[in-house]
Structures are given as C-alpha cells and as structure tokens.
C-alpha cells in the first residue's frame, strides 16, 4: 500500500507529540507530588516552629514558677516578666489554635495543653495575689502544684513537638522520594526523547534523504554517460514514485539519445554526402564515394548500388556498387524501367520497399540470400528520371517513414550532385574549348583578383610577353608586370579609369618595358570579382609609328623648307622678272629725267621740281625691286661658322660710312671669345644693318645704340624655345644672343604686332620699302634663329636675335 510521505512524517510527528505529552504529564504529576510534599514539609516546619515556640514559652513560663520558691522573689519585675511570658504562651497557643495547618487531633492536643496552661496561669495568679508568698506554706503548696502543672504542660508540649516532628520527618522522607521519582521521570523522558529523535532521524534518512541522495547519484552517473543505469527504490511513496518517473525519464532519454544518435548518423551521412558533392571528382567517383559513405547507415546492410539513366532512355545502368555479388552485378548491369524493384521505382517515381524477396524481385539468382530493399528514384528538378539508388536491408526490415525521409534527403543531394556534375562536365568541355582559344590567341590575357590584385591566371601569350615561367607570374601582384607605374593604386578599381584601348606599359621579367594596347573587363568567377586584362604588344607598331612620325616630321620640315624655298623662288622669279621689266622703263625714265634736267636746268623751277619728284619715284620703285630681290635671295644661304662680333663690327662700320650717324652714339658691349655661329655672313650683315638703320631712323634727333652679344643657356620657354615640334631651340641649349638697343621713339603695341609683315612701314611713302624687317626675319629664320622686338613708346626699342652655335 502506498503511504504518502507527508502522512509518514505526520504520523511520526504525532507519535512524537503524544510521547511528549505523556512525558510532560508524568513530569507534571511527579512534580506536583513533590511540590505537595514540599508544601507539607514547609507546613510541618512552621508547625514545628510554632510548637517549639510554645514549648520555649512554656519553659520560660515554668521558670518563674520555680523562682517563686526562691526567697526574696516575687518582685514587681518578676511579676511583669511572668506576665509577659504568659502573654507569649497565650499568643503561641492562639496561633496554633488559629492555624489551619493543624488537624483535629493536634487541635485537641493543643486544647489540652491550653487547659493545663490555664490551670497553671490560674495558680500563678493566685500566688501573685498572695502577699509575701515566700515562706507562705499555702503559697508553697500552690507553687508545687503549679510546678507540677508546668512540668506536665512542658511535657505535653514536648510530646506535641515530638509528634509534630515525627510527622515532619515522615513528610520529609516522602518528599525525598518524590524528588527522586521526579528526577527519574525527567531522566527517563530525556532518554526516551533522544531515542525518539534518533528514530526520527533514521526515519527521515531512510525514507527521504537516502533515496534522494541515491537519486542524485544515479542522475549524476547517467549524466556522466551511464545511460543504462536505473534507480532501485522500493519505497511506496513519492520518492519511490520519483524513482519510477526517473527511470521512465532515463528510458525516454535513452530512446531520445538513440534517436539523436540515429539522426546524428543520418546528418553525418548527409553532411559527408554534401562534402563529397563539393569534391573535384568525376561523377562516378563522387557516386561511388557517396555510396560507400551511405551504407554504414545502421538501418541498411553495407551493400547497394547506384543506377543512372544514360544515353539510352528507359534503362537504368549500374554505375557504382558496394558489396554486390558478381551475379547480381551481371544481372543488374542494365535494368529497364518497370523491371524488378529498381525498375519499378524508376517507373513509379516513388520509393519501392520490400522486407524480403518477393515476386516483385524479378532479378534473382540461385541461392540468393534473403534480404529486403529500398529502391529510391533520383529525379531531377525538372522531373526527369536520373537514376535509382538500391540499398540492401536485413530480411524482415519494417518500412519506416523516418527512413524514407532520410532516403529522400540523400536522393536530393545525389540529384544535386548528378545535375551539377553534368553541368560541370559541360562547363569543363566549354572551359577546355575556351582554354584552347585563350592559349592559341596571340593576345596576352591575365586574370587578376580584384581585391588582392594578385594574378591568378596567364595565357601563353602573356607568359611569352612577360618573358618568365607562368609559375613566376601567377600569384604575383599585378603591378609587378601589368601596371608597373600604378603600384597600390589600381587604375580601374581605385582610380576609376577606363583603360580600354589605352596604350600602357608592360614590365617584362628582364626589366624591359613593352608597349601594350590594353583592355580590361570585370568578370565574376565562382562568386568572386576578377579583372580580365588582355593586351597586345604594340612595340613594333609604336616603333613604326615613331619612325613614321619622325619621317613625317622630316618630310614636313623639308616640305616647309621646300615650300619656303619655292615661295622665295617664286617671289625671286617674279621679282627678277619684274625687276627687268620695271627697271628698263625706270632706266628710260631716269635717263629721260636726267636729260630734261640738263636741258631746262635753272630755267623753270616748277619743271625742275617735277623732275625731282619723278627721279625720287624712280628710286623708290627701284628700292622696292631691290628689296624684293633681297627677299628672294634669302633662299640661298652660304652657311659658314662665323664670329658674330666681327659681323657686328663690319655692319657698324658699313652703316657709319654709308649713312650719316653723326649724332648717334654706338656702343659695343660684346662678349669676347664666343662660340661661332653658323651663318651667311653677308645676310647676317644685312640683318644687322637693317636693325641699325631702323634704330638710327627712330632717333632723328640723335641718341644711343647699344650693341650687346653673349652666349648663354636658354632656360625660359618662349615662342620658338622649348620641346615643341616647331621650336628652333631646346630649353637648356646654348645659343648666341645679340641685342641692339636704341633710345628712340619706340613702337606702339599695335604696330609691334605688324612690324614683321611685308610692306608694313611707319616711315611714310618715301621712307622704307616695308620689307626690311620682313627680310631680316626671313634671313634669321633661314638661320634657324629667332628674332624678337620689344619696345616702349618714348623709351626705345630692343631687338634680340638668337642664333645657333656652329657644331664643331
């Protein structure tokens, strides 16, 4: 019968309570008895004291009685003394009589004593009332009587005391007994309680604590892995029930652990299959591996195979097997849809299960061992039958939904594997084509990781261009070869440049730089971004281009020269033609004028004046013709290394002799020992003379001309100096510089712009031909030199001529 643990505890506590009550009862009872005895004893003591007091007062009273017999007594004091004692006796008797402690017998005794005492007192009063009692015989008799009464009373009192005393002794003895009994009861009670508490402790330990500890220990053992452990509690209470529940729980735990183990195994198999699916193996290798890892599944035998539908539709071909006999391998090499269990699975598109060999198992051989099967169809996403997995089972195996669930999961993975492998095979084929194309292209191609900038692939053309083994290229950062100037800054990724079609440099392994034409596109490979860079070697093309450019430049230069020469030639031809045709009539006119001058000399002023005008016009026309001829003659220069200073000196002396420069101060500030210039002396002379004459003409009222010469390095880039195509001088080139400065009227800014234009003149119709500066510039240009004029109105003009130094 099951007893609740609270009932047990209640019962035990009730018994303990009853025991306590009994114990208390006994203690109280014995204590009460003891108290009573004590009370009685105290009463008895009081009684004894009262009786003793009476006895003493009686003895005291009896003493004076004797005193009466002593001669000379009976004094007043004695009398009073006696009276006091008597009062004492009376008080004692009264006290005893009034005390409730005395029983009837005792009260009778005291009454008797009182009676006798009254007699005594009576005699005493008689005696005291007798004058001169001493010596009085009567009195003597009375005294003797009184004495006898006194003795009697004292005796009675003595007896009374003894009686009371014996009573007191009895009560004291009883009281002692009660005391001992009380102590005994308490002792026994304590012992009984100790035993009882021990019993309680034992009870709790046995019924609560020990089972709980046992439960805890067992739980710990189970927690530590001893799943087989069970609790053995025979108690029929809650703890017993707890044990049962605990065992049930452990059973459930064990079952669930088994479940987990099964699931774990299933999950492990699935994980392994997933891992295998990622391996870079052929389809057959992957399927074989998958099968090998599937058959350790505890529900099946380590036997099975995987069929695939190949080129022939409707037929399963055994691709991989595990532990199959040679006979069955032969029989099941190709199974048409619908035949045997596997064929039926392929046809029905559902898992076919059999617990033993039955009529559906058409493919059999003699003495085939009993077994069951799971045949699971492998169906693609687009519902295409890919194949069947066949697994062997122990005979009598029961079909299980969970197992089917697992098998569907397996098949899902296998479907993925098969489909992916097929795609991969296709891709590999394409990749092979692509590789052939890439490898045969004469274009260098590299694939670069967009994040790390590392080259991950390079085709043979790229390898050849870089000029080092492929393994020295792959794995290296792109800027080592591809973008040598862009280290750390990818022009495409970081600078956002469009480099397609741009001309770049490829750094070869030997340090040479290869001119390339590049294109870059972003591609995604396996989810990662890469750059596909393709480039062609354009070194030859660049060289050809450069050659072409140089040739073009030369040609252009030559053409320019030719054009210039042709122009000059044409002008020259025209000029010489015109010169002849014009000079002849001019000659006639001049001769005519000369003749007329002589004929009319001094007679007609008007005519003379007109003749002078005619003569001037003829000279002017002749001057223009001469200038035109000069202009054309510049084409033919006789270049020799010349000393500029000596040309300058000649020019100055020629100007001085030919023209009147009396009021002009010419100052030479030339540098000594200058390098020679390549020049046509006469032409350069003509230029200097032109400049000097212009300077002189700008100072009609006199002034100063400063001629400077020096050689120096040209630093400042200006018109004609620099690294441009048309620059005559390179920056940093040494050149000879001539400056002719005047303090003349200067040239306005507007005129300065036109100053080199042919036929531009500020000298008026009679002044210049307007060709002087134009011719001068032409001559300087023919010398590959530069001429520049700077001027400020009212301050003067400076002409600077820069000439090439003759190469030794």
């Amino acid at each position: 019968m099951r007893i609740k643990i609270e009932t047990k505890i209640g019962g035990v506590l009730l018994i303990f309570f009853i025991e306590l009550v009994i114990f208390m009862y006994f203690v109280a009872a014995f204590n009460n008895r003891y108290d009573q005895n004590i009370h009685r004893l105290r009463k008895m003591t009081e009684k004894l004291q009262s009786v003793r007091s009476l006895q003493i007062s009686l003895l005291q009273a009896s003493m004076p009685a004797n005193d009466f017999l002593i001669p000379g007594g009976n004094s007043r004091d004695d009398q009073e003394n006696c009276m006091a004692i008597c009062a004492k006796v009376e008080s004692s008797i009264k006290k005893i009589e009034n005390s409730k402690f005395y029983n009837a017998d005792e009260k009778t005794l005291i009454k008797h004593i009182n009676k006798k005492y009254m007699e005594f007192e009576d005699i005493a009063s008689q005696i005291f009332s007798m004058p001169g009692a001493i010596g009085n015989i009567e009195a003597g008799k009375l005294m003797k009587k009184m004495d006898a009464i006194a003795d009697d009373v004292v005796r009675d009192a003595e007896n009374f005391y003894r009686f009371i005393y014996s009573e007191a002794e009895r009560i004291e003895a009883e009281s002692e007994t009660a005391k001992v009994l009380l102590s005994l009861v308490i002792l026994i009670g304590i012992l009984v309680n100790i035993i009882f508490i021990l019993g309680l402790w034992f009870f709790f330990k046995h019924t609560i604590s020990s089972p709980i500890t046992y439960l805890r220990d067992t739980a710990l053992e189970i927690a530590h892995g001893d799943i087989e452990k069970r609790v053995d509690i025979k108690l029929k209470d809650e703890i017993g029930e707890l044990g049962t529940v605990f065992n049930y729980m452990v059973d459930a735990l064990k079952a669930s652990e088994e479940d987990i183990r099964q699931n774990y195994q299933v999950q492990e198999i699935l994980n392994t299959l997933l891992k295998i699916s990622l391996e870079d193996l052929s389809l057959e290798e992957v399927l074989k591996k998958a099968l090998v890892h599937l058959t350790p599944w505890s529900k099946v035998m380590p036997k099975g195979g995987i069929f695939l539908v190949e080129d022939k539709p409707g037929v399963l071909v055994l691709k991989v097997q595990q532990g199959l006999s040679a006979e069955i391998q032969t029989i099941c090499a190709a199974v048409p849809f619908g035949r045997c269990l596997c064929g039926k699975a392929a046809l029905s598109d559902e898992i076919v299960f059999s617990g033993h060999i039955d009529e559906r198992h058409e493919n059999q051989y003699k003495d085939m061992a009993q077994h069951g099967h799971y045949c699971i169809p492998i169906v693609s996403m687009d519902k295409k039958m890919l194949g069947v997995i066949v697994l062997y089972l122990e005979e009598g195996h029961q079909v299980d939904d969970k197992e089917k669930e697992f098998l569907y999961a397996v098949v899902n993975i296998l479907t993925g594997i098969i489909e992916r492998k097929k795609v991969e095979d296709e891709l590999k084929k394409n990749e092979a084509y692509l590789t052939i194309i890439l490898n045969s292209l004469p274009v260098g191609m590299v694939i670069i990781d967009s994040e790390t900038c590392v080259i991950i692939e390079a085709n043979p053309a790229a390898v050849k261009m870089i000029g080092v083994d492929k393994n020295q290229i792959v794995g290296k950062p792109c800027y080592q070869y591809i973008c040598p100037a862009e280290k750390g800054k990818c022009p495409v990724r970081d600078l956002g440049q469009d480099v397609n079609g741009s001309e770049r440099v490829l750094l070869k392994a030997n340090g040479d730089r290869l001119q390339i034409l590049k294109a870059v596109i972003s591609i995604i490979l396996k989810g990662r971004k890469y750059f596909l860079e393709s480039f062609i070697d354009i070194t030859d093309r660049k060289k050809a281009e450069e050659g072409l450019r140089e040739a073009y430049m030369k040609l252009k230069e030559m053409q320019d020269q030719l054009i210039q020469a042709e122009k000059l030639n044409a002008v020259g031809q025209l000029a010489s033609g015109v010169a002849h045709e014009v000079r002849n009539p001019l000659g006639i006119i001049l001769q005519g004028v000369n003749y007329l001058e002589k004929r009319i000399s001094g007679k007609e002023e008007d005519v003379s004046e007109i003749l002078i005008m005619l003569k001037d016009s003829v000279k002017r026309a002749d001057k223009i013709i001469n200038a035109l001829l000069d202009f054309s003659r510049a084409a033919s220069l006789k270049m020799e290394p010349e000393d500029v200073n000596s040309i300058l000196e000649t020019s100055v002396s020629l100007v001085k002799t030919r023209f009147n420069l009396a009021n002009i101060d010419i100052k030479m500030e030339t540098k000594k020992d200058m390098p020679r210039v390549l020049a046509d002396k006469n032409k350069l002379e003509q230029v200097f003379i032109n400049m000097l004459l212009n300077a002189a003409q700008a100072m009609p009222n006199g002034g100063k001309i400063i001629i400077r010469s020096c050689d120096k390095k040209l630093e400042k880039i200006t018109n004609g100096i620099g690294r441009r195509e048309n620059d005559y001088f390179q920056t940093g080139e040494n050149a000879v510089i001539v400056e002719i400065e005047d303090t003349g009227s200067g040239i306005s800014e507007e005129n300065l712009k036109k100053i080199f234009d042919p036929f531009f003149t500020t000298k008026g119709p009679t002044g210049g031909s307007g060709l002087g500066l134009s011719v001068s510039r032409n001559i300087v240009s023919m010398h590959k030199g530069l001429i520049d004029i700077k001027s400020q109105i009212g301050k003067g003009t400076t002409v600077t001529i820069i000439l090439k130094i003759a190469q030794r």
């Binding site: 000079r583 000659g587 006639i588 001769q591 004929r599 003569k615 000279k619 001829l629």
Partner: protein, 126 residues
C-alpha cells in the same frame, strides 16, 4: 680731251637713245647704239669703241653671249665692257666677272652716276 667712243648694245631703243643724248650732252662722249648683240658685235668691230655698255636680257643673243664673243674676239677683247642691265642678281654679276666684263651697273641709273662709272673704267683701262 679726246672724245671717247661709247657703244650701247640694248634692245630698248629708247634707253639707248637717251643714254646717247645724255652722254653726248656732257660733251666728252660719242655714242653709237646697237639694238641687238649681233649688231653690237659688228659695230664694235667696225668702230672700235673705247667702251661698250651692254644690256643682258636681249632677244636672240643675250648680254652674256655677246660679252663672251666680244671678249674672245681679238679685235674687241680689249674694249672694256660695262654691263648696264635691269638684271641685278648676284649670279649674273658673277658670270659677268667670269666673262671678264669690267663693271656691272644696274638700271635705273642716273646719267651723272653712269658717266662717273664710265670715266672710272676708262681711267682704269688707261
């Protein structure tokens, strides 16, 4: 002072005439004119002038050819020849020098200047 005979050879008839007028007007010269090289050579041989003024650009025989013939012919080789021409290029001047022409003067020229140059050449030739 002995009058100097001057022969002008110039296809410009008017120019020759004016030279003649101007030079003869100064009093020291007797001028004959020819209008072509051939005519000039013939005349030179015939009259043996003291100096010949020769144009270059002429039809048929130009001044250079005429000069060459004159200077090669022993009859005329000693006669100083002043080229009086509208052609003023250096190449022509060089050629004249090479052909032993005495002076090269370009048109237009003032008669006084021409006279001075003729006198200078005559003086030089002595």
């Amino acid at each position: 002072m002995k009058i100097k005979r001057i022969l002008t050879i110039d296809d410009e008839v008017n120019f020759g005439r004016l030279i003649k007028l101007n030079l003869e007007l100064t009093g020291g010269f007797k001028v004959s004119t020819a209008t072509s090289g051939r005519q000039g050579i013939e005349l030179a041989k015939k009259i043996k002038p003291d100096l010949i003024l020769l144009d270059i650009l002429m039809p048929e025989m130009n001044g250079f050819e005429t000069l060459e013939i004159l200077k090669k012919d022993k009859d005329t080789a000693g006669i100083p020849v002043v080229m009086l021409t509208a052609k003023g290029d250096e190449a022509s001047m060089a050629k004249v020098k090479q052909l032993c022409g005495e002076l090269y003067v370009t048109k237009p020229i003032e008669s006084s200047e021409l006279k001075a140059k003729i006198e200078w050449v005559l003086k030089k030739k002595g």
